[in-house]
């Protein structure tokens, strides 16, 4: 069992709803985005187009972040998900340096978007254990997976560009998509073997 994600960039409309859904689901502090949509401009007018690349933690098979973590706070679960134990992280930010993908965030302050927390944010403070002075990132919505649900970004994707499943199962939808479309991984040359594949 190794969870994986396939993002079909041909279908991605750049609507940012994955970012919004992730924010709503994970109550991330201001400035922290477990998933982001990078926008790339290719070509010159009139032959130009935008390209949207959603990025988030790749849950690599060989996580560079876990190797360098001095306290062992970052570790890999049996289902391939790379997690950070908030009670072990000491905030040295070395994992952010080691990760080639820039998907980890340091929590300076558990701030709010307005001066006083909204009722929704106040709920988030109780629901999520983000400690100040530690690093946080996407965990494929582990709390939703436990309930048999897909990650919030997958469930919400308006153009159904995201597919979630088991990479180890050769008959799973994502395994078939990867083979059929010659899907690629980001910065595959870094040898991290990410669990997120892109179809171009």
């Amino acid at each position: 069992m190794r969870y994986g994600l396939v993002i079909d960039l041909r279908k991605c409309a750049g609507c940012y709803s994955c970012m919004a859904a992730c924010k709503a689901e994970n109550f991330t502090p201001p400035g922290v985005f477990f998933t982001r949509v990078l926008v790339n401009e290719n070509g010159k007018y009139p032959n130009a187009r935008w390209q949207f690349i959603p990025v988030q933690c790749n849950h690599c098979e060989n996580p560079a972040c876990a190797a360098v973590c001095p306290t062992g706070a970052t570790s890999q679960k049996e289902n391939g998900i790379v997690t950070i134990d908030p009670n072990k992280c000491m905030g040295c930010r070395y994992c952010i340096v080691a990760c080639p993908y820039r998907v980890r965030f340091y929590v300076n302050k558990r701030g709010t978007y307005y001066r006083t927390p909204t009722p929704y944010e106040a709920f988030g403070f109780r629901a999520r254990d983000y400690q100040e002075g530690t690093v946080i990132k996407c965990d494929f919505c582990s709390h939703r997976l436990e309930q048999g649900l897909e990650p919030a970004c997958v469930a919400t994707c308006t153009s159904r560009a995201r597919y979630f499943g088991d990479l180890d199962d050769p008959n799973s939808e994502i395994s078939r998509l990867i083979t059929a479309n010659r899907a690629y991984q980001l910065l595959a040359e870094k040898g991290t073997n990410p669990s997120i594949y892109y179809i171009h």
Binding site: G31, L38, N40, I53, V55, A64, A67, V68, C69, P70, T71, G72, A73, N87, K88, C89, M90, G91, C92, R93, Y94, I96, V97, A98, P100, Y101, R102, F105, Y106, N108, K109, E132, G133, T134, L186, L187, K190
Partner: protein, 446 residues
């Protein structure tokens, strides 16, 4: 000048001069430095209360002035320790009057430098987590082990040669100093009486520490370099990073020793003991290290630039003629070429020339570490724009406070400990006078 060394009373008087004579100038300088340190400490307390969010660090450049200063200031420490150790092992007689200052510089800069990783943790209370579940594969853990071992070694390396001098203080200063200093001398001199047996063990200890401290210092700086080099980031992932860092540390470290030696020489009128010879020989060291460092810099940039790798070219472009170009060339010319020329040309190889060269090296080597850390962090591996970083008031205040703490602690230290190693100078003199007749006869035969 040699006669001065042989005159024990004069030598002792000079060595303990800072202990007995504080004076108004001492108090004034100490006060100014203390104010700067206090501002830095205040900035740190503010950061402690509000977290790293009060600094200029951002999501792209999340390692900044603190990590730069860690590398820079621990590098200074390296120079003092290794210079003193190598010169001792090589039996260079001229080193004797400056070893105490070099070792003290090594110790103080190491302590100040080692504070920076703690400052860099927004919540230093989290540091206990490191000891609960350490990951032996992490370069940060190697760093901590290396720095702590090196710290213990530096303390011993400073302390061993100090023992006989503390005994001199104990015996000769008597009631001229306060009660607590007297107590320090009595306790720390460990009942030193200059017995042959004691001499033997002391020499043994010093020799062992001199040998141990060199690989330790090399390991500290190599591990610091690997902290960067083991990540797959453009500009860092380089095979020569460890030796490159070691040479950088030696270069800036020797420059720092020069500044400390020149400062104390002038403030306490030690010109008779720390003479032209010491200055000239330190210049030679700086010359060699400066040329080596320029060579390493060229080799590193040249091999990286020639391949046109898509990730490393933008870093190099920013460094050589982009945003960071002016700083890079300021470093290369002001911190490399000019100091090397200043110490290479006999006419400028004076105390002033060497002090100017060292001040240039010490300041631009900080800049060089900035240029190692920041441009690489700003270069994302994807095509995305990144935020710039120059640090803010909090970070600069802490850095300047820490830098001011170095001379302040040294000044206070030498209110307690003799500034020149009396015992070592005498020992060297004895050896030289023993050897002199042989040398003379050898010359006659030739």
């Amino acid at each position: 000048m040699d006669n001065v060394y042989k005159d024990r009373a004069k030598l002792q008087e000079a060595a303990v001069r800072p202990i007995l004579h504080g004076g108004r100038r001492f108090r004034l300088i100490a006060l100014i430095l203390a104010i700067i340190v206090a501002v830095g400490a205040g900035a740190y307390i503010y950061q402690l209360m509000h977290g790293l969010g009060v600094t200029g660090l951002n999501n792209d450049v999340f390692w900044g002035i603190y990590i730069i200063s860690l590398v820079d200031i621990i590098g200074m420490s390296y120079g003092g320790a290794v210079v003193s150790a190598i010169l001792r092992l090589a039996g260079a007689a001229w080193r004797a009057p400056i070893t105490r200052l070099a070792e003290a510089t090594a110790l103080v800069t190491l302590i100040i430098g080692a504070l920076f990783p703690i400052i860099d943790l927004g919540h230093p209370s989290h540091i206990w987590r490191l000891f609960v579940s350490p990951n032996p594969g992490s370069p940060i853990l190697w760093d901590i082990i290396a720095i702590l071992t090196y710290l213990i070694a530096t303390v011993l390396f400073f302390y061993f040669p100090l023992i006989p001098d503390l005994a001199i203080c104990r015996d000769s200063l008597g009631d001229k100093v306060g009660r607590w200093r007297k107590k320090i001398y009595t306790v720390l001199s460990l009942g030193w009486k200059g017995l042959p047996r004691q001499e033997k063990y002391l020499n043994w200890g010093i020799k062992i520490m001199s040998i141990i401290i060199i690989p330790l210092a090399v390991s500290v700086h190599s591990v610091l370099a690997w902290l960067f080099a083991v990540t797959s980031r453009p500009g860092w992932h380089s095979t020569i990073f460890a030796p490159y860092f070691v040479v950088a540390a030696l270069f800036s470290g020797v420059a720092m020793v020069v500044l400390v030696v020149a400062g104390f020489r002038r403030a306490y009128h030690l010109e008779n003991f720390i003479g032209e010879k010491q200055i000239r020989y330190l210049s030679y060291l700086m010359l060699i290290l400066g040329v080596m460092y320029l060579y390493f810099t060229f080799s590193e940039l040249f091999t990286e630039g020639y391949t046109l790798e898509t990730t490393s070219v933008p870093v190099l472009a920013a460094l050589l003629y982009g945003n960071y170009g002016p700083f890079f060339w300021l470093f290369a010319i002001g911190g490399g070429v000019i100091p090397v020329l200043l110490v290479a040309i006999p006419k400028t190889r004076t105390v002033t020339g060497l002090v100017v060269a060292s001040a240039l090296v010490v300041s631009t080597m900080w800049l060089k570490r900035f240029l190692i850390v920041v441009p690489t962090l700003r270069q994302a591996l994807f095509p995305v724009s990144t935020q710039s970083y120059t640090g803010n008031f909090i970070e600069w205040a802490i850095l300047i406070g820490a830098l001011a703490a170095i001379p302040l602690i040294l000044m206070l230290m030498f209110r307690v400990f003799p500034v020149i190693s009396v015992h070592e100078v005498e020992e060297v003199e004895v050896k030289r006078s023993e050897r002199q007749p042989e040398l003379a006869s050898g010359l006659e035969q030739a």
